[in-house]
Amino acid sequence: MKRISVKEDACIGCGICQVYCTLEHSKSKDAIKAYLKEDPKPVSRIRIETNKPVSMSIRCQHCKDTPCVYACLAGAMTLDKKTGLVIHDPEKCMGCWTCIMVCPYGAVKPDSSGKIIAKCDLCPNLDVPACVTNCPNDALLCETVEE
């Protein structure tokens, strides 16, 4: 299954992964339109953490033990057994933030509407997630890992 891993020594905390993540999850895929006109505004599903001199780009790890799936009050989080991905269904999400409470990575957040959550979906429409492709320092790796 696909996974993103971080090269801690190579990440410079530039935030370009966040920009491309936001763009990939926008309707227009156009930075200016997405920022100015879209409602709700697209949000990045990545958080950059900095503790100088180290920086890190953090996102949903699609955990094997899926605490968010078990905690979800609505049945909106599911584990796709074929791909090993944790899938979020925005139509079912009730915005109770229970997944936020139990995510050990703090990798789930409210989207800009404040009514549902947003998290990394590994860019299902792309071969390689946008953050990985566009990382200027090759700090992110998209790998296929064994189950």
Binding site: T50, C96, I100
Partner: protein, 424 residues
């Protein structure tokens, strides 16, 4: 003979079915549920009343769930009694089901306080779809409602009714809202947000009688408070608590205190009989003893653990603790663990308050280990703290960073970080 028999089709029952099927794809499973449509999300009934969710979107699992998992679902049926020696459950329609392993996932029942007028038309509890449907059917003609109980359920129904344009008076016996998970400051901030919607809050007070309508004494017309104030209303919602449903085992050999006692494998004192969820007293990882924790996610996980063990895959329940997450009145709040320590000299308390936003974050530590926190207004990194509580991580080195903007996984010791991530 049924290999696995489950009584209850909500979070715990669903969790058990999923776990059993992971281990045993073919063993016969039967499930008894009083509700005809059991696989819905009970916490979503407030979204159903506010019309933000429909019957379709509030499904916890699909309608084909029972079929897909090859479960014989006895829906709309009640288990009447259990013969633990002969391993037989009798249903209300006379059927008898013989089992090998039994799971009691019977849930809770809303508390209905004994008071005059409680049987009047227009009085509801709020834990099931039926109560949500009952309230919804009244909304066309109702203008105002009294919600008795300022806990999580009371606040959830108040939020839903405000969204439907109903004038609400919320009455709570305690001196603060959701007192199990909020402290004085968090309640004060929540009160301000709730009052801004026009909702009236009355704390340290309760209802002593439900009054009838003028011209129709059998229908709700108002309530009489302990201090003799009268508040007129068209609806009363009782949200004062939930008791474990233990009537099936009350006069049996099954060990009960307030709820059914289970061990770390969700097994009762009777061999082959398991229990989970609101009906039980199960392990709390913080206080390290059994207690009642009637919370949906814990019911689900408890059901899963029971399911694995019933199917022969020995699995230990990690336990839960007092924890709540909510987003009512558009105010996100996450609260976990001990947030109101009784003897504050033994505890260290870190606080960040920004009342204008409002943001309030409080972390409670004992001997450099986090034992509880409240995040109000800003909740994003709550899960990182939840993990630190659960794993009892010593945070002496990062204590001063815990409430800083830059706090994150990167603040944790490198060894902890590398355990969590694939890092190159």
């Amino acid at each position: 003979m049924v290999k696995y028999l489950i009584i209850g089709g909500s979070a715990g029952g669903v969790g058990a079915v999923e776990a059993i099927r992971e281990v045993d794809p073919t063993g016969t499973i039967a499930l008894i549920s009083e509700e005809v449509f059991p696989q819905y999300s009970r916490p979503m009934i407030s979204e159903f009343v506010s019309q933000e969710a429909t019957l379709a979107t509030m499904k916890y699992r699909s309608e084909q769930f029972w079929k897909k998992h090859n479960v014989h679902a006895y829906t709309g049926k009640t288990a009447l009694n259990i013969d633990f020696d002969k391993k037989i459950v009798k249903l209300d329609d006379g059927q008898k089901l013989e089992y090998e392993k039994l799971l009691l996932a019977t849930g809770g029942r809303p508390v209905v306080p004994q008071m005059d007028g409680v049987t009047k038309e227009g009085v509801f509890t709020f834990t099931e779809l039926a109560s949500a449907e009952g309230i919804t059917s009244k909304l066309q003609h109702a203008k105002s409602a009294v919600v008795l109980g300022g806990g999580l359920i009371g606040v959830s129904v108040a939020d839903a009714l405000v969204k439907r344009g109903i004038k609400i008076t919320l009455i709570e016996l305690n001196d603060r809202l959701i007192h199990v998970v909020l402290d004085e400051k968090a309640s004060e901030l929540a009160e301000t947000v709730i009052k801004a919607t026009g909702t009236k809050l009355i704390l340290s007070q309760t209802v002593k009688q439900i009054l009838g309508k003028q011209g129709n004494p059998n229908e709700v017309g108002g309530v009489l408070l302990q201090d003799d104030t009268i508040i007129s209303c068209d609806l009363v919602v009782l949200a004062v608590g939930v008791n474990p449903r233990i009537e099936l085992v009350e006069d049996s050999k099954v060990e009960i205190q307030k709820g059914i006692i289970v061990d770390r494998f969700m097994q009762t004192n009777i061999p082959d009989v398991y229990a989970c969820g609101d009906a039980t007293e199960a392990h709390d990882f913080l206080v390290k003893e059994n207690r009642r924790l009637p919370l949906w996610p814990l019911a689900h996980v408890g059901g899963r653990v029971a399911g694995y063990n019933m199917a022969g895959q020995t699995t230990e329940y990690e336990g839960g603790t007092v924890m709540s997450s909510m987003n009512y009145f558009r105010l996100p709040i996450i609260s976990v663990g001990k947030i109101n320590p009784e003897d504050s000299s033994e505890y260290e308390i870190l606080v960040d308050v920004q009342p204008e936003k409002p943001v309030y974050r409080k972390i409670v530590l004992k001997d450099d280990v986090i034992v509880g926190f409240i995040f109000l207004g800003e909740v994003e990194k709550a899960g990182i703290l939840f993990r630190l509580i659960k794993n009892q991580v010593n945070v002496a080195e990062v204590k001063e960073k815990l409430l800083s903007k830059d706090f994150g996984i990167i603040s944790l010791p490198e060894t902890v970080r590398k355990e969590m991530f694939v890092v190159h």
